[in-house]
Symmetry: C2
């Protein structure tokens, strides 16, 4: 998606160590809602034929993108929670996720009542790097006996192994911007 | 807002202890995007004349509502983060918040570069109870020298003190559903 690639080139910042791409001026801290809209439209174009019944994402930065995309699919959005709050009781599906960004391990959970075997689930997230969060979400959908129709990702760090590994398992992963490499000279896309 | 009140009556669940209203089938775990849209439209109706330049919310459940509302205001959405991640560096505004729902204290933060003195900020959140999160967000906006034009809240627990206290400080708080009391017999609105 040219629009997103251009925006990353223009406003993305690579941290000195070359490991972190900051897109927090438009994607995951401050949000350009118009850009989210174009992203949502593109996910719909890609997955329109998949008879999606539910969008699943993970807090926090996936939620806005998933909600905007949800308007095109006209289905409910469900977000996996990262910590057990007083407000979740009853049965939950859980998965353990190791976060690259935060350098820690946490549990994600989804209340069982919101995922049914007949659901056809599109997973949406802002980043795909080592694939840990996506693994966790796929595990939860499958535990519910539902179908993962695919994953719509805004930015894939294609130089990390997550995307390749998950595609090899037969999951359709569509990333709107795939980064081949990044460093002092900027970002190179696949 | 009748639509939201009716939905709370129909699908909200009050936990046995009477202290927690669960709206996670449509508002803050599974999301009815159509309802979010009506909420966003209503916030715009209420604050359309305020020359809003930015919407500020707090992760996680405020983000979706703020993004959908952002479409009507046509301004960027900014969400305060609850924990320091590797991706935030440089100057941040922080505030300490005591969460009623999670029973713990945490810091929220916003990167300084995204709040300017000339900003007119509408704060959006799903719940207002004791007002701790809203206090934190107001503090951050003011620290930036920007203006709080008001707060758009989906559900106010009017039997708790937050709304009254914050309105008394001169902040315009608009809640779409104000709960007077809740218990075994259901929810009573103001």
């Amino acid at each position: 998606m040219k629009l997103l690639e251009e925006r990353i080139r223009r406003d993305g910042k690579i941290r000195e160590d070359g490991a972190v791409l900051k897109v927090d001026s438009f994607l995951n801290h401050q949000i350009d809602v118009g850009l989210y809209n174009e992203i949502g439209k593109e996910f719909f174009r890609l997955f329109a034929d998949e008879r999606v019944t539910k969008i699943l994402t993970i807090e926090a930065s996936g939620i806005g993108i998933a909600c905007i995309a949800g308007q095109y699919f006209d289905v409910p959005v469900l977000f996996a929670k990262k910590s057990k709050s007083k407000n979740i009781d009853g049965g939950v599906y859980t998965a353990r996720v190791e976060s690259f960004t935060h350098g820690k391990v946490y549990d994600v959970m989804v209340a069982k009542e919101f995922l049914r075997p007949e659901d056809r689930v599109l997973i949406i997230d802002d980043f795909l790097a080592n694939g840990a969060a996506l693994d966790g979400l796929i595990q939860i959908v499958r535990e519910a006996g539902a179908t993962v129709v695919g994953a719509g990702i805004c930015i894939e760090k294609a130089f990390q192994s997550g995307g390749e590994r998950i595609r090899a398992k037969g999951v359709r992963v569509e990333a709107l911007a795939r980064i081949k490499s990044m460093g002092e000279d900027g970002v190179e896309f696949c």
